[in-house]
């Protein structure tokens, strides 16, 4: 096995007449196992669409994605998730009829989701474990005081953290986060950054879309820059900060070292 966990090969996505991802030759990049990758670019560059293509929410118009060497074409997004790929959405999604705790618990696949074990009742033994794991990850993201709450009472930033928690309980091998700090206050951003660093240190692979570059460039070890669906640049945060094309297309002068 190579040490590339994710291989994106000549990926394109067309919406009607608009080519959102891929440009001329298609979008290609590799992600090394254990890397913390920043995915940046102007609004409409195709970052979220790329996430949707990788996670199977959208089908590519052409090209392919491979996870751990396995081609993901024609694989349902639920199955991709079960292969160890977790993701969050740019607009946080929550299960509104479930409590905060249940929103996280439902993330853990339980044997009780099989009809046979529903009737045998064998799921009960796992349930206590799932619950304590859920409380643990809720503590990690700073939502432990909202455990019994209904989702409607959460703020925008809290919903975002809830979604992160729901993915954390799944123990994903690779986690895709779409603008995790948007609407999240500075103290929680600090918490989030240390969570990401912890996950990174555990050897997990992370791809983070962010416009908050102070946050992202301090933790990423590789940065990929998209523009108009195409790869504009790829390199370490320092290389990217000083890349003239990236500065004029996206960064402005502020980040130049």
């Amino acid at each position: 096995m190579t040490d590339d966990i994710l291989v994106v090969n000549k990926l394109t996505k067309q919406f009607g007449g608009l080519k959102a991802v891929g440009g001329q030759g298609g979008l290609s990049f590799n992600v090394k196992r254990g890397a913390l990758v920043g995915l940046i670019g102007p609004n409409g560059a195709g970052k979220s669409t790329t996430f949707n293509l990788i996670s199977g929410v959208l089908e590519p118009s052409s090209g392919s994605v491979a996870l751990n060497g396995k081609d993901l074409s024609n694989i349902k997004s639920s199955e991709i998730a079960s292969h160890g790929l977790g993701r969050t959405f740019q607009t946080p999604r929550a299960f509104t009829s479930l409590s905060v705790l249940e929103n996280v618990m439902v993330g853990a696949g339980s044997t009780g989701e099989r009809l046979t074990s529903v009737f045998s009742g064998s799921w009960r033994t796992d349930e206590a474990d799932i619950k304590s794991k859920a409380i643990e990850v809720l503590q990690q993201v700073g939502l432990d005081d909202r455990i019994g709450d209904i989702v409607a009472n959460l703020s925008g930033g809290e919903l975002r953290m809830l979604e992160v928690a729901r993915q954390l309980i799944r123990d994903p091998e690779i986690l895709l986060l779409d603008e995790p700090t948007a609407g999240v206050d500075p103290s929680l951003q600090g918490k989030l950054s240390s969570i990401l660093v912890d996950l990174h240190n555990e050897g997990r692979t992370l791809i983070v879309v962010e416009h908050n570059l102070h946050f992202l460039l301090s933790i990423a070890d590789v940065v990929i820059v998209l523009q108009n669906g195409e790869l504009l640049a790829e390199g370490t945060p320092n290389e990217i900060k000083n890349d003239q094309r990236v500065i004029s297309a996206y960064l402005g002068d502020e980040y130049a070292a």
């Binding site: 998730a81 999604r93 929550a94 509104t96 479930l98 439902v106 044997t111 099989r114 529903v118 409607a152």
Partner: protein, 308 residues
Amino acid sequence: MNIEQLLLAVLTYGCLYSVMTVSLNLQYARGGMINFGTVAYFAAGAYAYAIFTQEPPSGLDQYAFGFNSPWWVGFIAAGVAAFLFAIVTGWPTLRLRGEYLALTTFAFAEVLHSIFLNERRIGNGSVGLSNVNRPDFSWIGMSDNYGFAGAAILLLMFTAFLCHRILASPYGRAIDAVRDDETAAEAVGKDIKRLRFEIFVISAVPVGFAGALYAMITTLVSPGLFTAEVTFFVWIALILGGEHTIKGAIFGTLALILFEEVVRSFNFETVRSAEIAASVEHIMTGIIFIMILRWQPFDRFTKKEAVQ
């Protein structure tokens, strides 16, 4: 009609229809699937029971099948028939959402109705199958009326237990998640197609059993008994019960059945006044339906989300 008969009728039909409402609650309120063809699974159960328990055809009989089986074989056959019909109708349609699923299930029910109406070999066409066999309650010392009331209560308890068991487990949690947000549910590995299909099929089984019980009580199955009115009745009862709970579904049904039975129990001096009463009942049912829809529209789940 005296009070005892009235109460017995309310109890029997109330529990019988509650079986359907509780199943619909599982499909719709929890599973998010709008099934406007509920009557089809009810009819499938009733016909299966009648066909399995009747004598083989002889003489002038137009129907082609009769297996002369004991009542419990017919009862099981009813559940199996509803189960199979749910597989046939659910497989191609469950990808559809909301009103599209509603229309398709409605159409399937109409097709089944039309088959029963026109295909004499199955159920004697529009005449139906009469003298349907009843189980004998005398061995437990009960009259038929009390026996059927007891059977309806037992069937309802079984259905409520089944639904409760499912909903109170991680399975129920996953179903809720799928209904709330399919994309997010898939992002945590939920196979939404499997979950929806299983719920659709499993909740049809008690409806089939209810069909068998209905056939025993009326001793007649004919297309005229299984029209879309049955579906609408169950829907009204479910919405009347509000609160997406098993209890709500049962109370809604009992209230509606009580209303109908009381209206029917009035003694009318003339045929004319009986006719008027019948139309008033229909109008009232319609008005209740409109009022309920006005205040609790189908999209109340999405409404919940908007409270931000």
